[in-house]
């Protein structure tokens, strides 16, 4: 029986031993690995998608790059883990990824019931509908009895039925477990409408439709979808690093710190800018990082405004307006907690 006992002991060691080494150790693990494991989508252009050379691009991708730059000093030290909407939470909970930066909606159940901690909002979105123009539908309220293609494992699925109930109409969801499958079904004409976050609809219409002009994004948004990066519970230090890196990206735009000017601004007389770049005060030590962390993040990917324009806004194929995602003093609701 000794082999069995040995097996038992080995199993016990395997399952129990790493347990004490938990809280606050994500950062150590990342440093010793030399890589940040970042959970992204399997391909939503503008947020996270690999281009034909296999380079990951998008707003969610840039968030991870900024964190890698702040923590490891190199925005390219990231391992990209593409996750389906079903797998994403398991991957984060089990430690397969250190951060989930994958157009994920912040909601109470996810925050409090599924072991996640959302570190901030990087994109204020809402759920909309995409329809073929030939269906002659111009408002979501006309979708009575329509069949709507939707991807499972999303908040979208629930919002759709909430919307139908609030409007007193019947909508038949056709639910697919994979993004590709739901797209294929919609474009084959299986469903009269496709529903997901409006930002993703823009990309689907622009990039996935056989002819974008045959399709229309309906004007109504039926829900609030604040998207942001999440980390797993139980490591407050790591949570703080992610939260404040996101804040730094937004704050940098407000302070006018851009990718190109990071270095030259070190001599700025503005105390907020000085603090941001760690010239006088060392904010980094509060996070367990060095004084230059925020500057490195901006140098790697630029401030929030630059990230937005490059991936979603004017300089991107999607050409989305800033809308809610403008700074609080420019008509939007982005408001970074101050770095001081």
């Amino acid at each position: 029986m000794s082999p069995a006992l040995r097996l038992l002991a080995a199993t016990a060691a395997l399952t129990l031993a790493p347990l004490p080494a938990l809280a606050g150790k994500t950062l150590d693990a990342i440093k010793s690995r030399g890589q940040l494991a970042c959970g992204v989508s399997t391909g939503v252009i503008g947020f996270s998608a690999a281009d034909s050379q296999g380079q990951w691009k998008g707003l969610d991708v840039d968030v991870c790059k900024a964190i890698a730059a702040a923590v490891l000093g190199d925005p390219n030290k990231v391992r990209w883990v593409p996750l389906s909407s079903q797998q994403r939470f398991t991957a984060l909970q089990s430690g397969e990824v250190d951060i989930l930066s994958r157009n994920t909606t912040w909601s109470l159940t996810r925050d409090a019931g599924q072991g996640l901690h959302f570190a901030g909002v990087t994109y204020y979105d809402g759920q909309g509908f995409l329809v073929a123009k030939k269906t002659k539908v111009s408002s979501a309220k006309q979708l009575k009895n329509a069949e709507v293609c939707v991807q499972s494992g999303t908040t979208t699925e629930k919002n759709l039925s909430d919307f139908a109930r609030s409007q007193g109409i019947k909508i038949k969801p056709v639910v697919f477990d994979k993004f590709e499958a739901s797209l294929k079904a919609f474009f084959s004409g299986r469903c009269q409408a496709y529903t997901t976050d409006a930002s993703a609809l823009a990309f689907i219409r622009a990039k996935e439709a056989p002819n974008p002009d045959d399709y229309l994004v309906l004007p109504e948004l039926i829900s609030k979808e604040p998207l942001g990066p999440a980390v797993r519970r139980g490591d407050d230090e790591w949570f703080a690093i992610v939260k404040w890196t996101v804040n730094a990206l937004i704050e940098a735009e407000e302070l006018g710190i851009t990718q190109a000017r990071v270095d030259s601004l070190k001599s700025s007389a503005d105390p907020s800018v000085q603090r941001f770049l760690g010239v006088g005060e060392d904010l980094g030590k509060n996070l367990g990082l060095d004084r230059d962390w925020a500057g490195r993040a901006i140098k790697a990917v630029g401030n929030y405004g630059e990230i937005f324009n490059r991936n979603l806004g004017a300089d991107s194929p999607l050409k989305l307006p800033r809308g809610l995602n403008a700074q609080w003093n420019k008509g939007g609701i982005l408001y970074a907690q101050p770095l001081r």
Partner: protein, 375 residues
């Protein structure tokens, strides 16, 4: 794949000239012997006459063979657009694996198939057969993973296409066969408790669908592992496949063991073989050869079942078909042609495994191959 043949085949050994006439007469009788038969024959002929020319026209005469989207769209599905295969073949066959190291998955696939060929050739001793089954999947994993000898490390989520299908089948079989044999012996042990536990485990695995097992691998297994110490999806899925297949294989082996004549064990004992030697050299080789057709069926089932891993987002052959076409608005309409392409691959794979198993059953040693269907 039963080796039994229809009895008609055996009867056609008559002298040439007269036999032709006799055959013709028999053929006419078989086709139009009575009204019902004549009706059925005419029906089948009409079906063929109607479908074959249309098929020929679609698949060959009016088909477009070059990867030219415009020309394909102009065809408007009157002819097949085989250009989609030319355009997407690399993606469908190799998935998202980095292009510059494409030779790694190709070599890995060849290794696994080569291992099967070697194991089935029947000219190798038992130990070599085992090596042929066990070693190639391990080598394939190393090759695909890279990270040595100047090869770039490739994370498992980028593995895909046909090599992944073959790896899941090969590694699944390599893991499940020894485990299945062990379970089969365990269920014959004299310890009732062990028997009961193994029986419960086998019945549990055989009672649930593979999709449920894959969901468990995807969502439950991570809960057992400590944070960060978890396994990649691929390994979790492989664990599920091995356990699942082992349950089925163990039943086959157990059936073979039950049917094994006790007298041979006694004879072996009389010759001075100990229990282990008897099983290793006398019983197991015969039992495995006897159940080879059933094992082959399980192998084919496993090969086909690997397509299910796409529900947990591993992009093997079927999954990469969806990935290659659904994400490309231009080529999406030519799904059928791409589907036929991978259908042909599965067809060849299944036939290959069946043929190899027949080879293995016929192969090594003078022991006659008992027909599975013998009364």
């Amino acid at each position: 794949m039963s080796p039994a043949r229809p009895p008609e085949v055996a009867r056609t050994a008559a002298p040439q000239g007269r036999a032709d006439l006799a055959n013709l007469g028999r053929l006419r009788r078989a086709l139009f012997g009575d009204p019902l038969n004549a009706l059925l024959s005419l029906g089948v002929m009409a079906l063929l006459a109607w479908s074959l020319p249309a098929l020929l026209r679609w698949a060959v005469l009016e088909a477009q063979f070059s990867p030219d989207v415009g020309a394909c769209e102009a065809l408007d599905h009157r002819g097949a657009c085989w250009g989609v295969v030319a355009e997407k073949a690399r993606f469908i066959l190799l998935g998202r694996y980095p292009v510059e190291q494409a030779w790694c998955p190709i070599l890995a696939a060849l290794l696994i198939v080569g291992g099967w060929l070697g194991a089935a050739s029947g000219r190798l001793p038992g130990a070599a057969v085992a090596t042929g089954l066990l070693l190639p999947p391990l080598l394939a994993c190393a090759l695909l993973g890279g990270g040595f000898a100047g090869l770039e490390a490739v994370p498992t989520e980028l593995w895909g296409g046909l090599p992944l299908t073959l790896l899941l089948t090969g590694a699944g079989l390599a893991g499940a066969l020894p485990l299945g044999i062990a379970i089969a012996y365990g269920r014959r042990s004299s310890l009732p408790l062990l028997r009961a536990l193994l029986t419960a485990g086998v019945e549990l695995a055989r009672g649930i669908p593979l999709v449920a097992a894959l969901f468990m691998a995807s969502f439950l297994l991570p809960l057992f592992f400590p944070e960060g110490g978890g396994l990649d999806m691929l390994w979790r899925v492989l664990i599920a496949i091995v356990l699942f297949a082992a349950a089925y294989l163990s039943e086959i082996v157990r059936g073979g063991l039950q049917a094994f004549p006790e007298g041979q064990r006694d004879a072996a004992a009389a010759l001075g073989f100990d229990a282990w030697q008897t099983e290793r050299w006398i019983v197991l080789p015969q039992v495995l050869r006897q159940v080879a057709p059933s094992l082959a069926n399980s192998g084919i089932a496993l090969f086909k079942d690997t397509s299910l891993v796409t529900v947990v987002s591993l992009y093997e052959l079927t999954g990469s078909l969806g990935l290659a076409l659904a994400g490309d608005a231009q080529w999406r309409p030519f799904y059928l042609e791409a589907w036929l392409f991978i259908a042909a691959i599965y067809w060849i794979g299944c036939s290959l495994i069946a043929r190899l198993a027949r080879l293995a059953a016929r192969g090594a040693g003078p022991a006659p191959t008992p027909s599975v269907n013998a009364p």
